[in-house]
């Protein structure tokens, strides 16, 4: 069930430089949301910005959902200016959630930048299912690092200002080679180059891996055909990120 609701901002916090957490009150969305799903948000009544903007559901807390986002362009700038009590128009929950059940013991979470967004929600669920969790987070610099509500976190920064100096996938490779984990499954989210590296690593190492993609969307519900990702095989060349994703088994898709 997809809901379209005008919801109230009930919490707002700047959690790192230019990165905000926003809580929205909506029992309906909160109750039906699953980790890996997203909502498509409209925050202006005018034609600027015209389209909704997609954001992962970062956490569910009672009857509210939390978004975690950074200010990129006009849309997120406007979203960051919202105050408690303001209203935004939410469409969701949307998309296919992470496959969090089944044959794995350790969840290896790999996030680059705001790719952490979906993982607090996933972490909560995994903990309830008593999975082991190892989390790897990459950021440009310590100032833009967010690790809140994640478990057992190891950090990489591009400039070495915190943790490992290098990419998060490099950090991951080093770690897994020195401390192999039991029956792992990887969950990745972040910029495309990182996801490509992660996918290559996962396929080489033979580890199951789900990726959550971010890309340009207009509708978020399968109406516009605006969000293709190349499929690795099958009759159809593209899948739609909004309705067939945003989570994909890394073997199903080709990133460019």
């Amino acid at each position: 069930m997809i809901f379209q609701r005008l919801v109230t901002v009930v919490g707002r916090e700047e959690v790192a430089e230019g990165i905000f957490a926003l809580s929205l009150e909506s029992a309906e969305v909160a109750n039906s949301a699953r980790p890996g799903q997203f909502i498509n948000v409209r925050f202006s009544e005018t034609a600027l910005p015209l389209l909704r903007r997609p954001f992962s559901i970062s956490r569910v807390d009672g009857s509210s959902i939390e978004l975690l986002f950074n200010v990129i362009g006009q849309g997120t700038r406007l979203l960051a200016s919202k105050r408690i009590g303001d209203r935004v128009d939410v469409l969701g929950p949307l998309g296919i959630p992470f496959g969090h059940q089944g044959g794995f013991d350790t969840a290896v979470i790999v996030a680059g930048g705001l790719g952490i967004a979906p993982f607090p929600f996933l972490t909560g669920l995994l903990k309830r299912e008593k999975k082991r969790i190892a989390t790897f987070v990459g950021a440009k610099t310590a100032r833009q690092l967010v690790t809140r509500r994640l478990d057992d976190v190891q950090v990489a920064t591009d400039d070495g200002s915190e943790g490992f100096r290098g990419t998060v996938v490099e950090l991951l490779e080093r770690n897994l080679s020195s401390n192999p984990v039991m029956r792992p499954k990887m969950f990745g989210c972040g910029p495309t180059p990182m996801l490509k590296a992660l996918s290559a690593f996962a396929q080489e190492a033979g580890i199951e891996c789900e990726l959550s993609l971010e890309g340009d969307m207009a509708c978020g519900v399968g109406l516009c055909q605006g969000c293709p990702v190349e499929r690795a095989n099958g009759r159809r060349k593209y899948a739609l990120v909004c309705v067939e994703g945003p989570t994909f088994n890394c073997k199903e898709i080709v990133l460019r």
């Binding site: 389209l51 890309g215 207009a218």
Partner: protein, 314 residues
Amino acid sequence: MIKESFSIRGVEFKNRVLVASGTFGYGDEVKDLVDVSKLGGICTKSLSWKPRDGNPPRRIVETPSGMLNSIGLANIGVHNFIDEKLPYLRQVDTKVIVNIAASSLQEYCDVLRLLEEQEGIDGYEINVSCPNVKEGGLNFGTDCSMTRRISEQLRALTEKPLIIKLTPNVTHISEFARAVEEAGADAVSVINTVIGMAVDIHKKKPKLSTVTGGLSGPAIKPIALAKVYEVAQAVKIPILGIGGIMTAEDAIEFLLVGATAVQVGTANFINPGTGVDVAEGLRRFAEQHQLADVAQLVGAMESNVEFSILQSWL
């Protein structure tokens, strides 16, 4: 009771608001969110003979009060449509207009002929903004004689409503409308998207994979209104006005300049229920202005200015 319905070639649409091709999928994507029985009709995504993958990403770019798309007519093809989508569409309580796209005259005819054998289709809308493969990819819709030929040949194949959807990317759209009317089409849809582009200045590349794409949304509403107005001076067949409609007020502008009905496009991406809201708003406006029939708005704009002033002294 206010009369909200209108007819094309004997097919009665319950109100004057349809959803535009390519902006409402095949009608089943948002059935949880939208009560489609409150729409005048649904125009399906354009269908071609074979399924089309569409263009590589990036396909969507937002622009000031508008968006560019370069979907490349990704569609499931007419056979899959008949198998997978038509059964659902047969039981919706609104009119179903199947939109057809093709890269040859032959393909248009083949698709329509196959659809003619099916139950549950109320009419056809022909997307002529397609590359004519025989002519090196030249757009059918910018070639008046091709547009006329497509209309004539398809007219010969069906007794159902035949609506030709015109492109705005021509000097005199009224010439095309006249040709289509003479060819026996029942109505014209005005307008398809306007050619546009956007550049990523950091990557020094076009934002869309195909360089240019189609501009839609509120930004083009003034252009669409002028095109509908121009067509309304030229032909007698009904016009379905399209372009940037977000509200009932926008729709009323289109009716006033001469559209018989409207289609809501891009707005569906923001609020899939826009069409229903617009239809409801139209009814309310008619109520407030004590109109017996929404038709009283059609072409009701007063203007004592010569049409010849249209393109002058800008």
